[in-house]
């Protein structure tokens, strides 16, 4: 995985979405996956924020990787990440204030995301800029995808609406937008992913 010459950019990109999906597979950075996903709009904006930070951090680290002394690399990575997170919070506060009012704290906490630091350490600091871009984009899109799926189900079932527009007219299942519902939704979706994975492996095994 850390050898880009044998792996195409497309595979790098897909790796972050399917094989190493941050939430469903690695179970990292779980806090926002539950905190902000009680409606689709917040989930999507949070995902975009993470995508942006991951992408920019990967590019920055990859550009300066040759001048960072290995002993102080972690503080430097943290500095780069918190710099880009500050940029993101300011941009979101200015352009989408209604979303920022609800998810602002979680956007600030992107700094403490293990997944972003891990990609900087494991990938961007060892590879040149183009593979790092593909990797960052894949990881970010994978995260956005996971948040979108979770918030899609939670808003649809919990409120009967999507992006604020009413879709179902029956009385919704209120529990799905309550805190507890978030844990249920992620647990069940994770189990579903495991199930699909097991089925896929079994059928691949049978065809050989």
């Amino acid at each position: 995985m850390s050898n880009p010459s044998t792996i195409s950019l497309k595979e790098l990109f897909l790796n972050g979405i399917v094989k190493e999906n941050t939430i469903f597979k690695l179970a990292l950075s779980l806090c926002p996956s539950i905190a902000v996903t009680n409606n689709l709009k917040n989930g999507v904006f949070m995902g975009i924020a993470v995508l942006f930070v991951q992408f920019m951090v990967n590019i920055t680290i990859s550009l300066i990787r040759k001048v960072i002394h290995p002993k102080i690399r972690l503080p430097i990575f943290m500095l780069v990440i918190s710099g880009w997170v500050t940029v993101t919070t300011m941009v979101m506060a200015a352009f989408v204030p209604d979303v920022y009012a609800k998810v602002g704290l979680y956007i600030q906490l992107i700094v403490a995301f293990a997944s972003i630091l891990a990609r900087a350490e494991m990938f961007a600091s060892k590879n040149s800029i183009v593979p790092s871009m593909a990797d960052g984009l894949g990881m970010g899109v994978g995260f956005l995808f996971a948040l979108t799926v979770i918030s899609f189900f939670r808003e649809l079932i919990g409120k009967g609406s999507l992006w604020g527009y009413a879709i179902i007219n029956t009385k919704p299942l209120l529990i799905m937008i309550l805190p507890a519902g978030g844990f249920f939704a992620v647990g069940i979706l994770m189990a579903a992913f495991n199930w699909i994975d097991a089925r896929y492996k079994k059928s691949a095994h049978a065809s050989h």
Partner: protein, 197 residues
């Protein structure tokens, strides 16, 4: 003075039970799911955590109100707080290794984990946002630490039993832990009307 004390007590209670960081604010989940497999590690983590949380709450309050606010650079709060926490963790790691090696071997590995924890960063960010006084941010730090300890210990005692339970294959491991956390969170919503601040 009496009402002051009541207010602090309410703050601790609300931070630990009503707005429990794990169950209603969903922070620190990575650590929560990571170290709640065994009772012993859960207890060790809770002790280290509460101590670091209070010290970092106090330090960040001082830096925020005495340095960032007068200089009008509060937008740098994220970078500064992360720096304070990383420095504090590194410092307590070194001090503990030199002064109390026994304690260090028991709790040292949790210290390293703490700097990537979002609760530790959330406490100063929230208290800066709510404009708490020095004593209030200390109380908030203590309450959050106790709440996290409570959550970890409940979860660890359930998961130790879960080892013996028959769980459907796709739910094995993390998915089941999530569903259980959901059930505990449901129970914690019962605290929501306890005090009205």
């Amino acid at each position: 003075m009496d009402s002051e004390f009541t207010k602090l007590f309410e703050l601790i209670l609300s931070a630990s039970l009503i707005n429990n960081f794990v169950f209603t604010r969903f922070l620190g989940l990575c650590i929560f799911f990571g170290v709640s497999k065994k009772m012993e590690t859960a207890v060790g983590m809770s002790i280290t955590f509460t101590a670091v949380m209070m010290i970092s709450a106090a330090l960040s309050w001082v830096v925020f109100t005495k340095v960032l606010v007068p200089l009008e650079i509060t937008f740098l709060e994220i970078i500064v707080f992360i720096g304070i926490i990383a420095g504090l963790v590194q410092a307590s790691d070194t001090i503990m290794r030199k002064t109390t090696p026994g304690l260090y071997y028991k709790l040292g590995i949790y210290l390293a984990l703490i700097s990537t924890n979002c609760i530790i960063l959330a406490v100063p960010l929230v208290s800066a946002g709510e404009k708490y006084s020095f004593i209030e941010s200390l109380a908030f730090g203590l309450g959050s630490g106790l709440g996290f300890a409570l959550a970890l210990i409940i979860m660890a005692s359930i998961r130790e039993r879960l080892e013996l339970a028959e769980v459907p294959a796709p739910f094995k491991g993390l998915p089941m832990a999530f569903v259980i956390t959901g059930l505990i969170a449901l129970a914690f919503t019962g605290f929501s009307g306890l005090i009205t601040l």
